[in-house]
Amino acid sequence: NAGVTQTPKFRILKIGQSMTLQCTQDMNHNYMYWYRQDPGMGLKLIYYSVGAGITDKGEVPNGYNVSRSTTEDFPLRLELAAPSQTSVYFCASRPSAAGELFFGEGSRLTVL
């Protein structure tokens, strides 16, 4: 039972580079989320999706893009990486708006 799987676990980017953080879940959950976690700041919602083909902005969407072509996958795209995007990124899913959030193990990104 894999749950929520994120790749890569670690990545170092140079300023201006682009990359995609992958997230896949095998629980058939409709709701998926991307958060970033910074020291002393708590988790901040970047983007979320309530089903395939539907995405919406969260609290801190600038500099990111998402897509949701299937129920299982919810990749997060970083265009023109900036040092302010250095963070730990967590993908999460849940079966409904009222359900428990299940988190992946995180992707640690450093932009130099």
């Binding site: 700041m41 988790l43 901040k44 919406d56 609290e59 708006a97 428990e100 959030l101 992946g104």
Partner: protein, 111 residues
């Protein structure tokens, strides 16, 4: 002022101690309150979930919500070394996608 305030600690206690973790908040519209536990280098996992004011108990864990004071607490009885983790409070107005998290309190329980 942050919407959700949580003392980051670190908090260190001996095994068997009672631990009290707290969060305060500014948005009186919050109705759903959660506590997540996060082990080092792992994702958070739901520990307790409460709606509106009152207490909820689950084994060694008790969650309290005082909406009049905008204050929530998590108590851990008979703390164990395996309880060593960061504890995050979270809350939302509706049971929807806009959940706000505290910064987390790092707890160490020493054998």
């Amino acid at each position: 002022q942050k919407e959700v305030e949580q003392d980051p600690g670190p908090l260190s206690v001996p095994e068997g101690a009672i631990v009290s973790l707290n969060c305060t908040y500014s948005n009186s519209a919050f109705q759903y309150f959660m506590w997540y536990r996060q082990y080092s280098r792992k994702g958070p996992e739901l520990l307790m979930y409460t709606y509106s004011s009152g207490n909820k108990e689950d084994g060694r864990f008790t969650a309290q919500v005082d909406k009049s004071s905008k204050y929530i607490s998590l108590f851990i009885r008979d703390s164990q070394p395996s309880d060593s983790a960061t504890y995050l409070c979270a809350m939302s107005v509706d049971n929807n996608n806009d959940m706000r998290f505290g910064a987390g309190t790092r707890l160490t329980v020493k054998p």
